[in-house]
């Protein structure tokens, strides 16, 4: 494999507001390989959602390029490019049309991208529900009769409908309870393995990152401050900001507490020096 699935090169975004400018992203370069899960972490305002929006083509970059399979993603994307990159958002209740039955929500991408014959599409919808662990008769239900976890499964099924190669997951579990979160994370891992999907996983939950990602990109003020394998970033975080992020995560086990305290001591020592 010589060409990365997604190549982000010197990506920058500047928003022109009344009287001043905001440099949300300043020169981010990273390659994503087929089948990998890249986590993008950082505080709010660090630029992680802006990067995601540019990958999805919500708005164009101010400078820099994104290429998908060697082809540049321009202002006007081809249908197959749009189909190949999908999104799962944070809050399933606001990302799914509440007045549409689940079946209609899942059928829409099939219609838009003209997937399968018209007659076979409802069968495909039922298969999609099965893939995310929901019963086929949920196709006739309304979103508001579902729990948060079930609704997020529908959002995942909708992303899968167009048979994408890459899914941008923007805080997909932070609105869910812990028990439900664990289930949804397991589902996402299974789907990635089964369909060789590539994930861009945006989150501020470092514990989730450790359990999901192959590599981690740390963003601060729109710049990439550290990019490493998940294993390395937790065992040997180099940048102060990365260490601050990890040490701010709530801990449960004694092992986690020891690691956190070690990081905090290190940060305090450096502050004194």
């Amino acid at each position: 494999m010589t060409v990365p699935l997604l190549a982000i090169n010197q990506l920058a975004k500047m928003f022109q507001l009344e009287g001043y400018q905001v440099h949300a992203v300043r020169g981010v370069t990273v390659d994503l390989w087929q089948g990998e899960c890249l986590a993008i972490v950082g505080e709010s305002g660090s630029g992680k959602s802006t990067v995601a929006n540019m990958i999805l083509g919500v708005y164009p970059p101010t400078s820099g390029q994104i290429s998908f399979k060697g082809q540049p993603l321009g202002a006007h994307r081809t249908k197959s490019q749009r189909r190949a990159i999908q999104l799962v958002q944070q809050n399933p209740f606001s990302s799914i049309n509440p007045s549409r039955r689940i079946g209609a929500t899942l059928k829409l991408p099939l219609d838009v991208h003209d997937i399968g014959t018209k007659g076979a599409r409802m069968t495909r919808v039922e298969e999609l529900l099965g893939e995310v662990g929901l019963p086929a008769d949920y196709a006739t239900r309304a979103p508001l009769t579902l729990s948060g976890g079930q609704c997020q499964r529908v959002a995942i099924a909708r992303a899968l409908a167009s048979q994408p190669e890459m899914i941008v997951l923007d805080e997909p579990t932070s609105a869910l309870d812990v028990l439900v979160q664990a289930r949804v994370l397991i589902l996402l891992n299974e789907l990635r393995r089964k369909r060789n999907l590539t994930y861009v996983f945006i989150t501020h939950d470092l514990a989730v990152v450790r359990n999901m990602a192959d590599r981690v990109a740390v963003l601060k003020d729109g710049q990439l401050v550290e990019l490493k394998s998940t294993h390395e970033i937790f065992d040997n975080p180099e940048h102060d900001y990365t260490r601050r992020l990890i040490s701010a995560s709530p801990v449960i086990t004694e092992e986690e507490r020891i690691m956190r305290n070690r990081l905090r001591e290190g940060l305090a020592m450096e502050a004194v020096e």
Binding site: Q150, L179, R210, N211, A248
Partner: protein, 290 residues
């Protein structure tokens, strides 16, 4: 426990709907001693926020709600107090910190006006200048470096972390004996949440305030509480010293909760969680947003 700050005895609550009655709390009993930090841990829909609302008296008994049981605050039965007496308690003897500071503060008043309002709870005659003085002092305690600027600001002009600190200061300015904190800081970034929680911890330690801490975040609960109660579907299923419960959780639900949290020191923890948690994931037919 001698002279507890808050004592809840067999609290039950049900809501009457069109077709059926939903029992939300089943004989919930819990005690918070003086200067004690007690957490109530559970998922959304477990009944934890509703318990806090009952303590504050924000959920009045109506024709559609049935409440039974006793809530004693500093030895006095809240049910026997008049509405006026209860109103006087709120904001002075007991106060509350909410999940989202930006929506909990009033967007159309300056921070100083809101401090003034809170101080008038205890001293109806206090003027704005004196209120400003006291507010400046307590804002210094929550590490706000320019209290004058903050006092002149509206909530939307401040960052989330700054608003959260303002709210902690406001919650503590009347020296309450009980502080109720409902998921404080979950609307904030992890680093800011961590800072504000540590700050809140130091503030209540200094003042000897009892804390009723409501959260679904086990990591935060471990950091913050002395004792905890685990609530599941309106019932307390486990209680104990925080350290003991984390070291040796007895109820399967508590074990499931602990197993479900991804670990930050190991990368293959969630796949194991599936066995422990399955029993507690009854498919809920209707989603109730807490």
């Amino acid at each position: 426990m001698k002279n507890p700050t808050l004592e809840i005895i067999d609290l039950s609550l049900s809501f009457k709907g069109l077709m059926e009655t939903t029992r939300v709390l089943h004989d919930v009993s819990l005690t918070i001693g003086q200067k004690e930090k007690v957490a109530l841990v559970g998922e959304s829909g477990s009944g934890k926020s509703v318990t806090a609302r009952l303590v504050l008296g924000l959920l009045q008994a109506q024709s559609k709600t049935r409440v039974s049981g006793t809530i004693n605050f500093e030895g006095r039965d809240l049910a026997l107090m008049t509405a006026r007496e209860r109103r006087q308690l709120r904001g002075s003897r007991m106060s509350m910190i909410f999940q989202d500071p930006v929506s909990a503060l009033n967007p159309v008043y300056r921070i100083e006006t809101q401090f003034h309002e809170v101080l008038k709870r205890n001293r109806p005659t206090i003027n704005l200048d004196d209120a400003r003085g006291e507010a400046t002092a307590i804002l210094g305690d929550v590490n706000i470096t320019e209290p004058e600027r903050v006092l002149k600001s509206f909530p939307f002009q401040l960052s989330g972390g700054m608003n959260q600190r303002v709210m902690i200061a406001m919650g503590l300015i009347n020296e309450p004996t009980l502080l109720i904190a409902d998921e404080p800081g979950t609307a904030l970034d992890v680093t800011v949440q961590d800072q504000t929680l540590r700050l809140m911890h130091d503030m209540v330690e200094e003042r000897g305030t009892s804390v009723f801490f409501i959260s679904h975040n086990l990591g935060v609960v471990r950091e913050f509480s002395d004792r905890l109660y685990v609530i599941y579907q309106g019932r307390i299923v486990e209680e104990g010293k925080t350290e003991d419960v984390f070291a040796n959780p007895k109820h399967p639900y508590t074990r499931a909760l602990l197993a479900a949290v991804p670990s930050i020191t190991s990368g293959d923890t969630i796949s194991d969680a599936i066995n422990d948690t399955s029993a507690f994931l009854a498919p809920r037919e209707v989603h109730w947003d807490a």
